[in-house]
Amino acid sequence: MDDKDLEFREFFASQYGRLCWLGLLLTGNRAKAEDLAQEALVRTFWMWPRVRTYDRPEDYARKVLVNRHRSLLRRALLEARHARRTRVEEGYLPDHGEDAMVLWSAVQRLSPRQRAVLVLRYHEDLSEAAVARLLRLPVGTVKTLAHRGLAKLRAELGPLSQDYVRFGKEDR
């Protein structure tokens, strides 16, 4: 194994879990998440001589994963719909409280674009402009998707969330 392979292996070790999780957030399905992460890392590997010179090679892998997810959604709408229908049953559920489970399930029921925007905004901490670049959407569309996604979450969470918002978690 040469130095570059070792270097890539380290990169793999540092990024695999993160990419799998991002894949899970985007798809709601463990198998699909791992597939996306593996594919993103294979493609990153092919471009490694160039990618390793980037300031943040992990951003490239993330870009590949998000592009791949977007591409699969676009090209296989039926499959995506099926995945959406089966997502909650197949997927991960957080085990840290009922509120978290309710919110997680609500996130799974968002449209793929709304979910992708919220995941990239609030999990990956990207700006609206960065999300727009990654998803190749106008910034205005990203803002709308985020706004509607959050509104849908609030609506799905119902009074629970309203109380939560009004009084704060510590007061409940």
Binding site: V42, M47, Y164
Partner: protein, 333 residues
């Protein structure tokens, strides 16, 4: 706690998730298989698509043993992302080289697609195995070709329009059919598609490569924008040709792809000191760059990156005193 904060918490990765046992081995197997599904479609905007040529997939008969003294497949990092230029056509009875004016290029994007320019432009899916390229149904333009261009294209399609054995040796890419036909490529000396374009600005943006430049032909000068998303992806380009002595009626811009952005470019009067791209109300204006093009006596070039242009956007040219020298027609779509 706001819904945003709640969301951040619930989206956090739990410690120890996922179980990574065997993940790297699965990665190695996947890498070896190099089974890459077809990704997004891409095209060249300057190519006039007249029709699609569909070439049926045929099965390549077996061949004994690997090519000797040749470094093969596994690390196709050199194969993908490289602009490969055709240098030789190998036929059973002779080997010949394309004339210098025929710039036939082959590239693999590492995401399951290849593209090629011979006389026409072709794009299609490809699966890269350790020593065989499995070329799927390819589509292409159908511009009539003659002379050397036609000969090169025919030779190219004979070899690439099917499964073909590949190897890289000493920087040379070899594609070989069992019947003795083959192609030889070298790494092209420039990544950019237009050879004699004089750059005004070039570089990288969000992982993509770009170049904006000019080309003189008699009393005409062409301005050209070139962009590709990643190495191995097809180049997209857009261009305009101006007479060197003709005044600029309006600074109507052209718009070239640039990933999530667009590159707006065109020509403005020679005394222009500032060019502004003005989106519809409520959005900030963008100052574009000015470029002097040698030989252009009645205009200078401008260009710059902007967000996806919206209906009603304008380009406005000002002189050094802030007086407006001209404005483009509003963008209609």
């Amino acid at each position: 706690m706001s819904i945003e904060q709640q969301l951040k918490e619930v989206l956090e990765r739990p410690t120890g998730w996922p179980d990574e046992t065997g993940a790297y081995d699965r990665f190695l197997r996947r890498r070896r298989r190099s089974t890459r599904t077809v990704a997004a479609t891409a095209g060249l905007t300057f190519v006039l698509v007249l029709g699609l040529a569909v070439v049926a997939l045929r099965v390549l008969p077996g061949r004994d043993g690997p090519v000797a003294d040749v470094w093969q497949g596994r690390s196709d990092r050199s194969l993908t992302g490289t602009e490969w230029q055709l240098t030789k056509v190998v036929e059973p009875s002779k080997t010949w080289s394309p004339p210098p004016e025929v710039d036939a290029v082959l590239r693999f994007d590492g995401e399951g697609r290849f593209s090629a320019t011979a006389c026409n432009y072709y794009v299609g899916p490809v699966r890269i195995d350790s020593d065989v390229l499995h070329v799927g149904r390819m589509a292409g333009t159908k511009v009539g070709c003659s002379g050397a261009r036609r000969a090169v294209e025919e030779a190219f399609l004979d070899v690439v329009g099917d499964d073909v054995r590949w190897a890289i040796s000493g920087g040379e890419l070899r594609l070989d059919k069992p019947d003795g036909r083959g192609l030889r490529f070298r790494v092209r000396d420039t990544i950019y598609p237009t050879r004699d374009l004089q750059p005004l600005t070039q570089g990288q943006r969000n992982g993509g490569d770009y170049r904006f430049g000019w080309q003189a032909r008699d009393e005409l000068i062409s301005l050209q924008w070139e962009w590709r998303d990643d190495p191995g992806k097809p180049w997209e380009s857009a261009g305009v040709t101006r007479e060197t002595t003709r005044p600029v009626p309006r600074p109507d811009p052209l718009i070239g792809s640039a990933g999530d952005k667009r590159f707006v470019f065109g020509v403005v009067p020679p005394h222009t000191a500032r060019v502004v791209y003005q989106p519809p109300a409520g959005q900030p204006a963008v100052q574009l760059d000015l470029f002097t093009v040698p030989g252009a006596r009645t205009w200078q070039a401008f260009g710059g990156f902007v967000d996806q242009p919206r209906k009603g956007s304008l380009v406005v040219a000002f002189n050094g005193h802030g007086r407006e020298l001209g404005r483009s027609h509003p963008l209609v779509s």
